[in-house]
Amino acid sequence: MSLQSLTATRRSALKGLAAVLLASAIVSPALAQDTPVQGGTLIYLEQQAHTNLYPPAGGFYPNGGVLNQITDKLTYQNPETLEIEPWLAEAWEVNDTATEYTFKLKPGITFSDGTPLDAKAVALNYDIFGLGNKDLKFPISEVINNYDHSEVVDDLTVKFYFKKPSPGFLQGTSVIGSGIVSASTLARPYDELGDATKIIGSGPFVVESEKLGKELNLKVRADYNWGPDKFAHQGRAYLDAIKYIITPEDSVRIGALLAGQADIIRQVQAYDEPQVNDAGFDIFAPGTRGVNDAIAFRPDNPLVADVTVRQALLLATNRKEIVDTLFSSNYPLATSVISSQAAGYIDLSDKLVFDQEKAKALLAEAGWTPGADGILEKDGKKLDLTVYVSLPQPQNEGVLQLVAQQWAQVGVKLNVLAGDAGSRTLDNLDPLKTPVVVSMVGRADPDVIKSGFYPKNRDWLLQKGGSSDKVASFVDDKLNGLLESLASETDSAKRLAIAGEIQGYVLDQAYIVPFFEEPQAFAAAPYVEGLQFEAVGRPSFYNTWLAAH
């Protein structure tokens, strides 16, 4: 869905009707007739304060919302076509085996501290993102795999070498975690990068001041002139400044927006959407284009080791009821492992049906019989499972409670725990304690599937040799082999085919139950124009302007 039509469909009824009439052909002129206005401060209400602003930590939504304004990336991923386009790099070359990448930078780019953004600076960034730094405690970036070293060819040419074919790297240079920062930022220890004033980037905005945990002020960079090549708008951003104010309470954020005290807010729950729409304000819900909001099974746990049991649980989950009860049209029902807007998506809705009777039959076939309390039993063990609520996922507790009700109807018990962060983190590493885990990750490249399932990455299924030493034996060599070839296949068509094969395999094995395509939901005042979101839903305010109001 294009940005324009996304905007239009969320308008009030009257405007909506007009937009629908225009949507088919001339949506852009309808919005473009107003010329952008320069100036003004955008008031942005965030639910949570940012944490560490080391670029690879940009996955945390509040961090991404800041980093996206103050840093630029080598390349730009067009959120509509998912094509990789020039940004800081005007051109690049990849060798046949995808082990060598050469980037040619645009001349004249500087960081906000005046130092040049040249090949040396880029090499320094990627050396740290790709290898980490033990002394300064910098972790490795999740999107950079098999990194070996960099080479500064000349002032504006930098070359990266990889130990193994890494076709996902080009897209990796466009993501939120690959913002380029100055040498002075990377000379500080990781432990100090929670202070936004220490983050020196080359982006269209610069950190002016910060009240830690409460308020962050960005001001426009007047000499900025290196936005993504394909943007119609070049030069400085329209806004003069952006003020982030941390407003944890949902009702205060929405009330303040509707009362005219703020221009845009992040994190709007589906049940609050009508209130926003009724007031003539706009909801924006860009998708995160990765592995869907889902739960994954840990087959090392004997209760869910049998594929028949997992398939029964998949069939027993009424996913449509979950989406209809708790969410809105901004949360599309999942039709595969990854989002329908993700690269490599294939429609697998036929593997994701709700069939309670079949679920019961499969459980009976697997040898589970109802006990005295209605919960299924086998060899004296109850089919009693546990999952922890995941706080970043929208209304996750509600989702899991509904799943628990649905599974109860086929005789399976699901305990939904909130728990403190320590217990949750530890228990989620133990398949016996958590046979089920909430899973979701956003990134608009097929590598995202590997990020979720591969034992050396997030390891949702908990395989032996992965993140947990509590796993007795579970390994899926076939899955791992597919994930490895996904990460190293240099032929793009073949790579997408592998992505499709993995989606089918994961659902045939019923490793996960995908619920919906997770968006990031924002609400904005009607006079906020030109809002953009990068491919994984982080806002970009470079093209944003405030119309007369």
Partner: protein, 314 residues
């Protein structure tokens, strides 16, 4: 007197060390630790090898006593370490949150005292019995109002509907009005209740009857004879309540999006951010000790009998 103060300071240091050690041990008893919570977090997407390397770099798996000695040594040297979750020095976190808390607690507490005094005096001096009992019922009402609800109601009414006060991006003093009221309401209630009860008790004393018999007006009797004596126990409670306010304003802080020690404590406990918790615990203990010391030193000012007792002992 100076010996008394030195003794109290010695006691205070002991209290601070016990608080530090207790916090350290309690944190160790919790499942998991700050580094695990931070880096096993799906948002970073780190693999097992990287997490193991980071654990080693942070030295979280070294023996308990070594960690304790290191933490204590750093603390004594004035190095509070870094917040793992926030990735800033702990001193910076404290500086960002202390002044806000001091202001909110100071004004909230002052308003609460004024409200409590006002209620107590009105409850004694109001003309009709029904009015007096109505006023006496107000503290029970105040104490049962949920702070969360009160804060949101004040915002909805005065900010969003009437638009008198801005909650987002307000002026420095404007931003304090609603939170101070929100905080003062539940704090004023116990103060007013204790004051009322003490006023009732003192009023039955013979010396009050004498004052009345001499023809003093009710206001004069209350102000000159009753209130002075009724204030003493209230002072003790006030000291405790003020100490609690420093870390206990977390709900008010969250609703109004304010910085403060309360919110900082809540966050760092949630993430087991040990360095921050240690610093907050020791700081809060220091505040409690200081406030109680001040209260103890104030007693003789209000009550000449205590002054004499000290003089006799010396």
């Amino acid at each position: 007197m100076s010996r008394y103060i030195i003794g109290r300071i010695g006691q205070a240091l002991l209290v601070l060390w016990v608080a530090f050690t207790a916090a350290f041990l309690l944190l160790q008893a919790l499942p998991g630790d700050a580094i695990l919570i931070k880096f096993q977090n799906p948002e970073l997407g780190l693999g097992p090898d990287q997490i193991a390397a980071l654990r080693e770099a942070y030295g979280v798996d070294s023996p308990l006593w070594a960690q304790y000695l290191q933490a204590l040594g750093n603390f004594l040297a004035g190095n509070f370490g870094y917040s793992v979750q926030g990735s800033v020095p702990v001193s910076q976190e404290l500086l960002a949150n202390l002044p806000a808390t001091a202001r909110l607690a100071g004004f909230g507490f002052s308003l609460a005292v004024l409200v409590a005094l006002g209620l107590a005096f009105l409850a004694t001096l109001a003309p009709f019995a029904w009015l007096r009992s109505a006023i006496q019922a107000i503290p029970s009402l105040f104490i049962s109002v949920p702070v969360f609800w009160l804060g949101i109601m004040l915002i909805q009414t005065f900010s969003f509907r009437l638009k008198w006060i801005s909650v987002i991006n307000p002026g420095e003093w404007e931003g304090l009005i609603l939170p101070v009221i929100t905080l003062a309401v539940p704090i004023s209630a116990p103060l007013a209740q204790i004051l009322m009860r003490n006023i009732d008790e003192v009023s039955t004393q013979p010396f009050v009857a004498v004052a009345r018999a001499k023809g003093a007006s009710p206001g004069w009797v209350l102000w000159k004879h009753v209130a002075k004596n009724a204030l003493l126990p209230t002072l003790t409670i006030a000291g405790i309540l003020f100490g609690e306010l420093l870390a206990g304003a977390v709900i008010t802080e969250t609703v109004f999006g304010l910085n403060g020690i309360g919110g900082l404590t809540e966050r760092s406990v949630r993430f087991q951010d040990a360095s921050v918790i240690q610093a907050v615990v020791v700081f809060s203990a220091a505040c409690f000790v200081a406030v109680n010391l001040i209260v103890d030193l104030l007693y003789p000012v209000f009550d000449p009998r205590l002054r004499k007792a000290k003089g006799a002992a010396a």
